[in-house]
Amino acid sequence: MNETEFLMWVRGPAFQIATIVFVVGVVVRVLEILLLGRKGNLAEARGSATAGGLRTILTRMWPDRGTLQRSTFTVVTGYVFHIGLFVTIFLSAPHILLIRDVFGVGWASLPTTIIDATTVVTIITLLAVLVYRLTNPVQRFLSGFQDYFVWLVTILPLVTGYLAFHRIGMTPPMLLAIHILSVELLMVSFPFTKLMHAFTLFMARWYNGAIAGYRGVRS
């Protein structure tokens, strides 16, 4: 297999396989959680579960003061790399083309210099997050193999994307193929790891908020 064939395989069958694993995995896991069901609440409602659920989904976007003061580093780096991932994934021109090719909708892209700078900031932040995880005794004690694996599959597309954009180390078709392959690794790992939080987080927030809302209190 030469590098053009490799790139074609990565853009074609491999992307298809990754998409199937990703979609089937995510749908199965979400349905498994939802279909587990909950017993009906016999207590009289003192407020709206729906309003409580929606409110909590929104309010948990911002950290409460106590958490921010206690874990400033974790909160700030968490925001930086999540926003960085959003910008690099959804506002870069080649990625928007991919989205438009699949879903038929697209939007304006940001200039490459901004995407480039955001990528560098995100990579540095993720490296800082790893160093913190390794040096902080509590975090280190709580971390298992999956935490490091998830960190790796998250940073790999950023690093390979940066190398592909700047054409460092290998031929451009090879760099592009490796970048796409790293994304495919992320996609197939997604449903089976903590990366699922991208979907389950909203369900969890809703659940907490709805319980509190039903009881007439704020979560």
Partner: protein, 365 residues
């Protein structure tokens, strides 16, 4: 005999002034990324150079490479440099045919054994020797025979360099590149469909000046011409960086000359000198005329997933994959959910409450 004239004598005979000759040397030296101090060395070497014997073999090709090199640039110095080599065999251009032509090839090989250059355009069929023959000799046999006494081989065009269009799927003739058959000779790949004329004259100039083959990249192409991507040298690159793209061939972006990435431009993955050397005596190149780069100087460019499909998009129908995947996931999810539910119910039914008596019994033992 014209064959024993130096290159400068030949050029002077054809009415090329020393000024034009030095101008050519300067531009070639700069194209080859040589320092200005090397220009006199290039000029002096070319002045002294004896016309090297060149055997040009055309196999599975469309003659586009020969057209590119001989016709479009014939009034230029590059064209005359090309005339100034001793082209002893080229079955498209030579007057002789049949056995007389083959005799010329054999004679050139014997006379210049170990010193002649072989230029190949076209791929070589391996599935059946009968697919392409010249004077009853299969392309494979002719290449192997001619290559034995060659100083170096120049594979002109993507067909000779990488297999090109004949090698495209499903490759019915079993077409291969020169480098797939010849492994014991220096091979310079001058890829492109067709290659830029100035690149071939640059490679010849290098060979005449230094007597060696130029520095090559991983794909055997001269780095001086294939060292940078079309994208990196493209005059539309600033539009890519600003995120300004033509969305179709007749929208505002296209009229304003914005980046053609979204229309499938392969500039980012293509290495060639089109954006700098340009075509038709430096007039233009495909992107300048409003068309995306096809990536013709790269291996298997024909099978690269569509000329008008952007590089970052998948080649398969991912929207359909998503729909089927979601449907399969939903079915599997419902099935697993039902199983989980049944397990939960069974666990609840099997649940035996612990009474105070049970606990006391345990205590007593």
């Amino acid at each position: 005999m014209a064959k024993h004239k130096s290159l400068l004598e030949t050029l002077q005979h054809q009415g090329i002034s020393r000024r034009s000759f030095l101008k050519f040397c300067a531009s070639t030296a700069s194209l080859m990324a040589l320092p200005p101090a090397m220009i006199p060395a290039v000029a002096s070497a070319l002045e002294q150079a004896r016309r090297p014997s060149v055997i040009w073999l055309s196999f599975q090709e469309c003659t586009g490479c020969t057209e590119s090199l001989t016709r479009s640039h014939s009034p230029t110095v590059e064209g005359l440099i090309f005339d100034a080599i001793s082209l002893d065999y080229h079955h498209t251009l030579q007057a002789a045919s049949g056995h007389a032509a083959e005799a010329a090839r054999t004679a050139a090989m014997e006379e210049n054994y170990g010193n002649y250059l072989v230029v190949v355009d076209g791929s070589i069929p391996t599935a059946n020797p009968g697919y392409s023959t010249i004077a009853g000799i299969s392309n494979r046999d002719m290449l192997l025979e001619t290559a034995t006494g060659a100083a170096a081989i120049i594979s002109v065009g993507s067909c000779a360099a990488f297999g090109g269009i004949p090698h495209a799927k499903p490759n019915p003739t079993g077409a291969v590149a020169v480098s797939d058959l010849i492994t014991d000779k220096p091979i310079i790949n001058v890829s492109g469909c067709p290659p830029i004329p100035v690149v071939i004259s640059g490679v010849l100039t290098h060979f005449l000046t230094f007597g060696t083959i130029p520095a090559l990249d991983a794909l055997g192409r001269p780095k001086a011409f294939f060292g940078q991507s079309i994208h990196d040298r493209c005059y539309r690159r600033p539009f890519y960086d600003k995120g300004l793209f033509a969305e179709s061939f007749d929208d505002e972006g296209a009229k304003k000359g914005w980046c053609l990435y979204k229309l499938g431009c392969k500039g980012p993955t293509t290495f060639n000198a089109c954006a700098t050397a340009k075509w038709n005596s430096g007039t233009s190149f495909p992107i300048q005329s409003g068309h995306p780069c096809l990536g013709c100087s790269e291996p298997d460019f024909w099978d690269g997933g569509g000329f008008y499909k952007p590089l970052s998009t998948p080649t398969e129908d991912i929207a359909a994959t998503l729909v089927y995947g979601a449907a399969a996931g939903a079915a599997a999810g419902v099935a697993l959910g039902t199983l989980n539910h049944a397990r939960k119910t069974r666990a609840q039914q099997a649940h035996a409450p612990v009474t105070v008596d049970d606990l006391e019994k345990g205590d007593g033992q």
